[in-house]
Amino acid sequence: MSASPSTAAPPAADEAGATAAKDQRKRGTAKRRPVSRRGELLTGYTFMIPWIIGSLVFTVGPMLWSLWLSFTDYHLILGGDFIGFDNYTAMFADPMFGRAVKVTLVYVLLAVPFKLVASLAVAMLLTQKRRGIGFYRAAFYMPSLIAMSVGIAIVWKALFAKGGPQDQFMSWFGWEGGGFIGNPDVSILMLVLLSVWTFGAPMVIFMAGLLQVPGELYEAAEVDGAGRWHRFVHITIPMLSPVIFFNVLMETVHAFQLFGPAFIIGGTAGGPAWSTLFYTVRIYALAFVDLRMGYASAWAWMLVLAVGVVTLIMFRAAKNLVYYAGEDNR
């Protein structure tokens, strides 16, 4: 699921360490220091035992194993051998790879911007001082909690079925494309809309960020005659840029990994006509339906690579685009 470093309280990574060292010095004599150090070493590792075992067995170990698997043609029942880069070359010749990449990229490029623009717009409305904010905020946040559930995916299927609410609504405007669900040209929009529906989660983070922007900046700008749009572009956006960066990063990373709703709506084949064949759904089908675990591992590592590259590019871009108040050397 989802997880994220904080923006509201960015940690100075070394701060804790530095304070600890200072404390040590303050605490006392050279003689006592090694003792308490050793005490911390022992306690530290004792407290870390579950995590260390867990990481070796269930995260770090499996990562290395799957890297190895990606160079084999391992099949759950038939077994397999080392085949070098064959999986990776096969992948590029596999028509399913192109389809899955296309579907996933289209989704990321549509869902992330629309969701974030919606969430920022509503967040700005909700940071005005008015009655009912708590109610709206809670109501808008709720979809974020249930959107990934199978129940909502099933409701979504019904809403976008032929003759369903979306079909009827759009036929008022002369659209005769039927329900999104059977139409490969637009079926991806169901998932985009499902994502936009959860705008409440980034909205709450934007709201926290907006409240941090000092009011004097707006007052000063108003005195200088800056209009609403100018204030938005020259104050809100720069002051909010760390939060924007955080939301863009997390939403993008998560969008690449969409699974549940895509699986329920499109099935393992990503129907209709592969139009909802998400990358992770294809990994699942390869590994747990076809049992081609070596090949599926190669797919999974391509995803890691892609997400890694996208993350790196974003961090690079952030260096120039994100403004951290109080830091002059930007």
């Binding site: 911390e40 590792y45 499996p62 809670a138 109501a139 369903g164 591992s297």
Partner: protein
């Protein structure tokens, strides 16, 4: 202000409040429009669950032509002879174990990473941060092979073991962040009084971590309740299915003939999450705002 006589001032003020009111109305109208769109799917499933089977797909209005409780009756019957409460219970057991595991393991891991000084701490913390962004799919296949080697496939063990080992990087990170806000003087005072790390952890840190514990428990419960991929891979017998697996199988097999039952079941499966949210929403939203969780 100085030059104005009384009369124009009153008029000006009245005009301003008029404009204020218009603004306020516009504000509420804009948000209500958003609200209608956001709540529409919920409203739709609510009424679909009491519609006649034929009514759901042919009558497009969300208002039912007649109300029937048949759908709920058939939903409570569950699937393949297994009653619905059984699936609720299965979901509940997994969610409850997850909550216990997360709180126990993440708090001790975070204490070590956030408060103690030992070689390798920074490297371990870096691993935690790296797993925050790492796509979990890459570990899925070897994890499955390990669990089938351990002969625990088709049990809930694979679904909860990670929670007991502090592998939920996000919550470890959240706890560490929270720990940094707790003054170290408290630990030091306790140390001077002769308390060891175990004592400090249980009698000082744990009670102060309470807000983080509450937030993480709520999120863990809801995420575990919604989790689909884990049960899809590891659970294969219908008696062991949690709700998401039930809904998926029902959707594949019986929904064609009993669409209303499907809708009622869907609605019932969402009720606990929504209730949970309504009760804890203040905690939740504060938690997200300060730690940046995404639902």
């Amino acid at each position: 202000m100085t030059a104005a006589t009384d009369a124009p001032r009153v008029v000006a003020r009245r005009r301003r409040t008029g404009a204020e009111r218009a603004k306020s109305v516009a504000w509420h109208l804009a948000l209500l429009a958003v609200l209608v769109v956001v709540l529409y799917p919920a409203f739709w499933v609510l009424t679909a669950s009491v519609k006649e089977n034929s009514d759901i797909l042919t009558n497009l209005s969300p208002i039912p032509t007649s109300i029937t409780w048949e759908n709920f009756a058939s939903a409570f019957d569950g699937m393949a002879g297994v009653p619905l409460w059984r699936f609720f219970w299965n979901s509940f057991v997994i969610a409850a174990l997850s909550v216990v595991g997360i709180v126990a393991s993440c708090s001790i891991t975070a204490y070590a990473l956030g408060r103690l000084e030992f070689p390798g701490r920074k490297a371990m913390f870096a691993v935690v941060i790296a797993t925050l962004l790492l796509p979990g799919q890459v570990m899925l296949i070897p994890q499955y092979l390990i669990f089938s080697e351990m002969d625990v496939v088709n049990t809930i063990f694979p679904l909860v073991i990670g929670k007991f080992l502090g592998l939920d990087a996000f919550f470890v990170f959240m706890y560490v962040q929270f720990l940094r806000g707790i003054p170290r003087e408290l630990d030091q005072a306790a140390t001077i009084d002769g308390a060891g790390h175990v004592r400090i952890f249980f009698s000082i840190i744990l009670p102060l971590l309470r807000p983080a514990i509450v937030t993480s428990s709520i999120f863990t419960f809801i995420w575990s309740w919604n989790d689909f991929m884990g049960p899809l891979i590891y659970l294969h017998e219908i008696e062991k299915f949690p709700l998401p697996r039930l809904l998926q199988s029902y959707n594949n097999t019986e929904a064609v003939s009993n669409y209303g039952g499907m809708m009622a079941m869907t609605l019932l499966s969402l009720v606990p999450v929504v209730l949970f949210f309504l009760v804890f929403q203040k905690f939740l939203i504060k938690g997200i705002a300060t730690s940046g969780v995404k639902g």
